[in-house]
Every structure is written in C-alpha cells, then in structure tokens.
Amino acid sequence: MEKVIEGRVWTLGRDVDTDQIISGKYLTVIDPNELKKHVFEIALPEFASGSRPGDILVAGENFGSGSSREHAPQAMRAAGVAAVVADSFARIFFRNAINLGLLAIEVPGVRAIFETGETARIDLTSGRIRNETTGRSVSFPPIPAHLMSLLEAGGLVEKVRRELEARRATATNAGAAR
C-alpha cells in the first residue's frame, strides 16, 4: 500500500450514518458498480457523478454510524475513494472499511482544516495529513500494526486466505514427515 496518498477532497458533516451513505432501498444490490451510482445519495448527492478515482473524503465525528451494512464502504471503494479521514468513526463502519482494504484514518480535528475541492496529502509514515491548498496540517497516531497488516494484505479476505494456506501447508508437511 502507498505510504503517501494525495487527492482532491470532498467534505462531509458529522453523524453521516450508513443510511446517508447508501440507503436501505439499495440493500439488495450486491454489485459494487451498481452501488457506487447511489453512494452518498442523501449526504452528498453531487458526489456520485462528480467524484473521480483517487478522491479523499474528510468527515466530521461519528462517520458511518448506524447499520452494519458493508454496502457503505463497498460503494465508496467502488467509486475509487482513496481514503476516508474523519474526526471519528462508528465502529462497525471502521472495521468494514479496513476489512475491505479501504483506508480509514481517525484524525481528530481534521474536518476543521478542509473544504471541498482542496487537496489533501496523507503521509502514513509520519502520521500527518496536510491541506496542500492552505498549508494547514494535523497529525495522527500511527495506524496500529494489526490494522496496517490487514491494509497491506489488501483486506481481510487475503489475510485469511494466506493464513488458511499456511495452515494447510503445515498440515501437509506434518503428514509428509510422519
């Protein structure tokens, strides 16, 4: 995974819940490319048509609260969102995002230094997000190792796949040694 991510910013307010990211009427849709057409329909209606891959979302507190629907981070990933940065996240959304390999970073105070259309530069190594348009920046604690390993694997599917593969290899070797 890239250690430095730069992209155009879209801002959102606080308490953007999963209904506002992808509403209940789309819960039977499982094709990510179909889902992305409706992403942020309630919270940010201009996003679906106006966004481009590599864009960065900057939100206020409690982003992704509400339901456990994975459609929310899935639709964002399908839309090409490079990262979502928020003052704080609701827990299930955060887990779902990381599990899908969508970079989600909690940065208290980040919402206050960005406006839509500005450029953000996220440095994962130094733990800093900078507004390239205004020069303001805010730092964040390093992403915990177990989350980083998930992101680096590209998400939970790949991580478990490797684990199961390793387990089978061990079993086979043990069998051969006997």
Binding site: D19, Q20, T28, I30, I42, E70, R91, H146, V157
Partner: protein, 427 residues
C-alpha cells in the same frame, strides 16, 4: 476511571478473557476471541463470496451458526429473492441446519433470544448492528460486517480491541405509562450517539434487576444508538429462568468485580420520569413526551414493530389500548410481530383481531417498516410514530420524512389520535 483501584474486572473484560483463553484482559488490548455463536440475516449472502475467496473448505462449527430471514419476508424484490437463494444454497452446502427460513422466520435477534442461542458468558457476533440486544443474556454480543463474518465462519474467531466499560446504574420505579423504551431513550438522550463509541455499556442497579428479559432486550438493543460495541446486563435468576428451558449450550455466568474499573459511571433515578420521544433526525434528540404532545404533531403512519419493541408483551400492551378504539382517519398503522412464534401467540390471544378490526395492518413477522427498504415507506413531508430504534434522515424512505421514536403504548395512542399522543390519557 472510577471504582476502587481498578484491580477488578468488568463483565465485558471477563467475557473477553474467557473468549480469548486468558486469565484477564485489559482495555486497549487486542485479543483473538473464540466465537460462541455467529448469526446472519440477508446480509449473510455477502458472506458467501469472501468465504470462498478465502479458500475456506468448511464452516468452523455448523452448530454455532444461525441464519434468519428477516428483512424481506417473503422476498419483495428480485434482488431480495437472489439474496435468499444464495443463503439457502450456502446453508445446504455448508451443512448449516439452523436456518429460520420463510415460515419459521423472525427478526434475527428475537430468533436468537427466544430459542436460547445466546447464553451467559458467550461471545456472539451477528451481521446486524442491533446484535447488541443479546447482551441482555449476560453475553458480549456485537455487530460485524459480512466479510468479517466470512472470517468468523472460516476460523471461529475474530479480533477485538478490549473496550473500556461504562456503568449505567438505575434505581427508582417506572411510573404509569413509563417503560424500558422510555428509559433507554432517556439514556441515549443523555449519552448521545457517540457517547459510548467503542465502549461496553453495563446496566445495573435495583431497577435493572427488576426488569424482565423482554425489557432488558429493549434496553440492550438501543445501546447500539450510543455507538457502543456491546451493552449488557449481568445474568441473574431472571436470566436463568428464561434460558433454562431453551438454552442451546452451556452457560458461563460471569459478573463484574466490586472494584471493576469503569471509564464513566452514570447514576439515574427513574422516579417521576415522564415517557420519552426521540424527535427527528437523531435517536439522541430526546424530549419528554408531554412536551411533544402539546405541539400537536400530526402523523401519517404509526409503526409497532422492530427488534426493539415487537415482543408479545409489547403487542399485548398495545392491543389492550387499541381495544374498542379505531385507527385515526388518514393514519396507516402497521403492526409487525418480531417472530413467527409471537405471531402465533397473537393469533391465539385475539391480538390480530383487535388490531385488524381497529383498522391497522397486521403483517407477518419481519423488520417491516423499520429500515425503509421493504414496506411502510414514507413520502417526503410525512411523519411516523414508531416503536423502532432509528430516525436518521432517509431511514424509512424519503430523507425529509420525520420519524418519532417512542414506546409501543405511545405508538398506539398516537395511531388513535392521529397525532403524537400520551398513552396515559387512555386509561
């Protein structure tokens, strides 16, 4: 931190220590917990593809997996039919026999509760945010997404950061017309939607000890609306009496130590408390019901249903108010029991007749109007009095539609009046 030196452990810590095979765990620590029960509803259909992509050959323990069809019952769209079909096929292939399909269906959390699938000491996960409800069993029950569920099905475990705990201690007695729903609305109003984020909430105190299991379900259910990872009540005689005839596996009752460390302790006294309403557009926008009644808020729909409040006790209370009354002209009143078992009880007790003759629409059991994806959808400018748990913009349809959350009795009173009403006026 409150509590004497904090050497003791909270209920959440004890359950997670047990799940991870450790002597003790501390908040902030990452643990790998063995899962006692995994539950999926339709969102489980999205678990199947990642499960196969992981190269998993079998489910870790088919006897610890429950599937319940609850959002679209029977399938109301082609998309829903496809989800159901994926689940049925997977259940057959993976030998998952605890499948509550259309006909035995019910809201997933109610299915777990009434069949004893979650017991004291369990670590339970489900593909729904209101899985927290099962914490009422003295368990650690939490919601996860479908990809994470695929990993649970493959490995039988998941990682968790041990949360800090918040103690909510409640004393006093409910006055007339005041219920567990009013209590939890008051708590959400006080703690706010982020106030318990990532934390475990432990309810205790003399009032909590007197609550029935259905009341504890309602309380733990809406812990979700405070952002909590889990909400729980320590198991006691009430829990054991409820579970003994139905428990599916062995109980491991645990309790907090007297000197457990809590990040925050909230003491509440419900003496003199009014019924409560959560007004648009957030479950924490809570006001005393009489205040809202005085504003004459007209409603277009009333909904008595959802995992929060559609148990037999809720429907009995509602039917008692409904008897001899009519649904107000211009109001659509939807009543949806939380499970097929509850539906059958309603049938036997004449509750279906009472609601139907009063002009309500009594549906089969499902999530129904709660989530705005199946039926009972609201148009812009419409308002709904609801016994459910969320009122965010767009929750039940149009983003402008207004949802007022309240107790089952207040919903029925509002359906009769055609505006938000106080059930105490109908005694």
């Amino acid at each position: 931190m409150t509590g004497a030196n904090g050497h003791g452990q909270s209920l959440a810590e004890k359950i997670l220590a047990r799940a991870s095979g450790a002597e003790r765990v501390v908040p902030g620590e990452i643990i790998e917990g063995s899962v006692d029960l995994a539950m999926m509803h339709e969102q489980g259909a999205q678990t199947v593809a990642p499960f196969h992509q992981m190269g998993a050959e079998r489910v870790w323990d088919p006897d610890r997996v429950v599937i319940a069809i609850d959002h679209w019952v029977p399938a109301s769209t082609e998309g829903a039919a496809v989800l159901h079909r994926i689940l049925r096929k997977f259940a057959a292939e993976a030998n998952l026999s605890h499948f509550y399909d259309v006909g035995q269906h019910g809201i997933c959390h109610q299915i777990l509760a009434e069949n004893g699938w979650v017991v004291p000491g369990d670590l339970a996960v489900g593909t729904d945010s209101h899985t927290n409800m099962l914490g009422a069993m003295g368990a650690f029950a939490t919601g996860i997404g479908p990809t994470e569920m695929a990993a649970v099905l493959a490995l039988g475990r998941l990682w968790l950061k041990v949360p800090t705990s918040i103690a909510i201690r409640v004393k006093g007695s409910f006055g007339r017309g005041v219920t567990a729903k009013d209590l939890v609305l008051r708590i959400v109003g006080e703690v706010k939607t982020t106030g318990a984020a990532y934390r475990a909430v432990e309810y205790s105190g003399p009032l909590i000890e007197r609550l029935s299991m259905p009341e504890r379900f309602t309380l733990c259910n809406m812990t979700t609306e405070m952002g909590a990872k889990a909400g729980m009540v320590a198991p006691d005689q009430t829990t054991f009496d409820y579970l003994r005839p139905i428990a599916k596996h062995a109980m491991h009752p645990l309790r907090s130590d007297g000197d457990a460390a809590y990040e925050r302790t909230i003491d509440l006294n419900v003496d003199g408390m009014e019924p409560m309403v959560a007004c648009p557009y957030s479950p924490d926008n809570v006001r005393p019901l009489p205040e809202v009644v005085r504003e004459h808020v007209r409603i277009d729909q009333a909904f008595l249903g959802s995992c929060t409040n559609a148990r037999i006790e809720d429907l009995r209370e509602g039917a008692a108010l409904m008897k001899g009354q009519k649904v107000a002209k211009g109001v659509r009143f939807i009543v949806s029991p939380a499970s097929t078992k509850i539906y059958e009880q309603c049938l036997e007790e004449g509750i279906i007749e009472t609601f139907t003759r009063a002009g309500a629409v009594f549906t089969n059991s499902s999530c129904s109007a709660c989530f705005g994806g199946n039926m009972g959808i609201l148009a812009p400018e419409e308002a709904c009095a609801s016994s459910s748990n969320r009122n965010f913009p767009g929750r039940m349809g149009a983003k402008e539609a207004r949802i007022y959350l309240m107790s089952p009795a207040a919903v029925v009173a509002s359906a009769i009046r055609g505006e938000i009403a106080d059930p105490r006026e109908f005694a």
